[in-house]
Every structure is written in C-alpha cells, then in structure tokens.
Symmetry: C2
Subunit: 200 residues, 2 copies
C-alpha cells in the first residue's frame, strides 16, 4: 500500500469517527444509524458494515481513539508536576467533541446502560480509571507515597474538582487553578505537607 | 384566617411549586408557561399572576424552598460529624425533583444564563455556596482550623466528590462512603491527621 493510500485511509477513519460523534450529539443514541454515519463521513455504508457491527461500535472506537493517556515523568521526582499535567489532560479534553459524546452517553445511561458500561470498561478503566490515579499509583509503587492512602476516594479528588468547576462555570479550570487543586486537595490527601503560600 | 384555611394555602403553594418543577422537567425552560403551571397545580392562572411575574419566578422560589440548609452542632466538638451530616444533606437532596430541576437549569445555561445566575445567587450562595463550607468556616472562625486552609478549592472537595459519585454510579454515596470522603479527602485538606483505619 502506498504512503498516499495509507494517509487517505487514516483520514477516512478519522472522518468516520468524527461522523459518529456528530451523529450521536445531533440525533441521540437511539437514532444513530450506519446510513447517517456513512453520509456524514462520505463513506459507503457497505464499507462501514465490513468493519463494524453497529453505529455504537464506531462511536466507542471514536471515543477510545480520542481519549488522553496519562503519563508519568521518568525521574519519579515531580509528583506535583505529574499530577498537574494529568489534570491538564482532562481539562483540555473536556471541551472536545469526544467529551460531548461521552456526556451524552452518560446522560442516556438509563435507556442505554450497556453503552455506558462499555464506555467505562473500554475507555475509562483501560486508561487508568481516573486522571491522577496512574500517577499516584506509580509513586506509591516506588515507595514515594503510602499505598494505603491511594484509595478510590483519593484518586477521584482531582477529577471531581475539575468536572465540578466545569459544571459550575461552563469552562475547565485554568493552569493556576489546576495547580491549586493539586496543592490544596490532592497532595494533602496523600500525606504531603500543604504549601499555602507557594513561591511561583 | 382559620387554621384550616392556612393549611390549605400552604398546600396550594406546595402544589404550585411542585407543578413548576414538573413543568420544567417535562417541557423545558423555554416552553414553561403560567397556563401550564396553573393546570398542573389546579390553580387559577389569575392567582398565579397576582403573586409571580413569570414561570421562572415560581421555579426559583420552588428551588429555594426545597434546598437544604447546612447546620453546625452547637458544641463545636464534632467537625467530622458535622461534615458528614452536611454532605448527607446534599446526598439526600440530589435525587429529589428539585435537584432534577436544578440539573435542567444548569444544562440549559447556554440558552438561559440569567436563570442559572439567579440560581447561584438566590439559592446556592445564600445557603453557604457549597455543602461543608458553612461548617468549615464556622470551625475556622472559632479557632479550630487555620482559616487560610478554607479556600474555595477545599470547600468544594466534598460536594465535588458526592456529585462525581452520582454521575459515575447514578446514585449518591451511602453513609459509609460519605464518611470516607470526609476522612480521606476533606479533613486532610484542612490539616487534620488522616485516619485510615478508623474504628466505627
């Protein structure tokens, strides 16, 4: 296959994913169709059916492909920075079309519980379950934190505060607020001394 | 006015409030009408117009009347219990019709920003802004906590974790999880020693 053909296939896949996200937010889960995604992406319906069994399969793959993966700095010497970066991935992501699709799936979980469940299993759990959890577990595994303090409640603090700010203000926290969330809420919960007047 | 007449008026007001909440969740903010609320509550439309200028005025009053007020125990000797009770008010409230109405107002804030703003000013801010904030400020004012630690981030930790649990699970935290939220997330942020294996 030529480089040109590969690019073109990658672009087609991106278009199909974007079409699935748009289809969801515009017509809702219950009325998503292969025909709709085919039309929005300029793809033949038969091509879609060869690769995917249903519109929601395309949708889940689109979310998987556009979900950020939390990382840890190699030196194990920047817990604070790693936590701020982890929450930064979330803050950057929440305004993307993928995040709107995730919100729509969670809002319709009453009618489509299997889709919400697949979202948790295939996307959230596979990517660490919560932003900051991968970082906290990593530092705990290497003896820098007491592992007993890295509970499900504690690993949810940062994500909960970022999403709460979004719900209250309509926009995610900026970088200075992300740093305050880490300094004032996440680090104290894992036994770090609290620094109120931290130098910039 | 006789006791019987007063009861009857209180009941009518409760019915009108309930009708406004139901009207919102069924037809949406944009299509709420005095006629709809009158019909749902079995009240004459003219009676509504005498007291309220618009359907959203009734709606805001209904939310105000059904929003819990956080309290502090008189002895100033049970910070943990007061925090758990504060989050318990929120956990009990989030499944009520009023909470569904609040969710609907916040979701339509893009189209009706003035209503969302009125909600924050007349309901949330007037009731302490955040659950646990009244308690934390009270203990800080009486010298039991460093006031510098009671920031907007810290006073949002408990509420953010309760609402996050609701979003992830479709139900609010139970009482043992509320206690863990206080022990593992809220108390560490205000400088209290963390108790991991607390006796019941």
């Amino acid at each position: 296959m030529s480089a040109r053909a590969r690019r073109s296939q990658a672009q087609m896949l991106a278009d199909i994913h974007a079409a699935a996200l748009a289809e969801l937010t515009e017509v809702g889960i219950g009325r998503m169709s292969m025909a709709g995604i085919a039309q929005r992406s300029g793809t033949a319906r038969t091509s879609l059916h060869r690769r995917w069994s249903s519109p929601t399969e395309i949708l889940l793959e689109a979310v998987e492909d556009n979900y950020p993966q939390e990382t840890v700095s190699p030196g194990l010497d920047d817990l604070r920075g790693d936590l701020i970066r982890a929450l930064g991935f979330l803050a950057d992501w929440v305004t993307t079309p993928t995040a709107l699709a995730v919100e729509a799936i969670l809002m319709e979980r009453g009618r489509h519980p299997e889709l919400a469940q697949a979202l948790y299993e295939r996307v959230f759990d596979r990517n660490g379950g919560r932003f900051t959890r991968t970082v906290l577990l990593h530092y705990a595994e290497h003896g820098h934190l007491d592992p007993a303090l890295v509970t499900d409640v504690v690993t949810d603090i940062g994500e909960a505060l970022v999403l709460k700010h979004l719900a209250d203000n309509g926009s995610p926290p900026d970088s200075s607020l992300l740093a305050r969330i880490v300094d004032e809420a996440v680090l104290p919960a894992v036994g770090r001394p609290l620094v109120v007047d931290r130098e910039p």
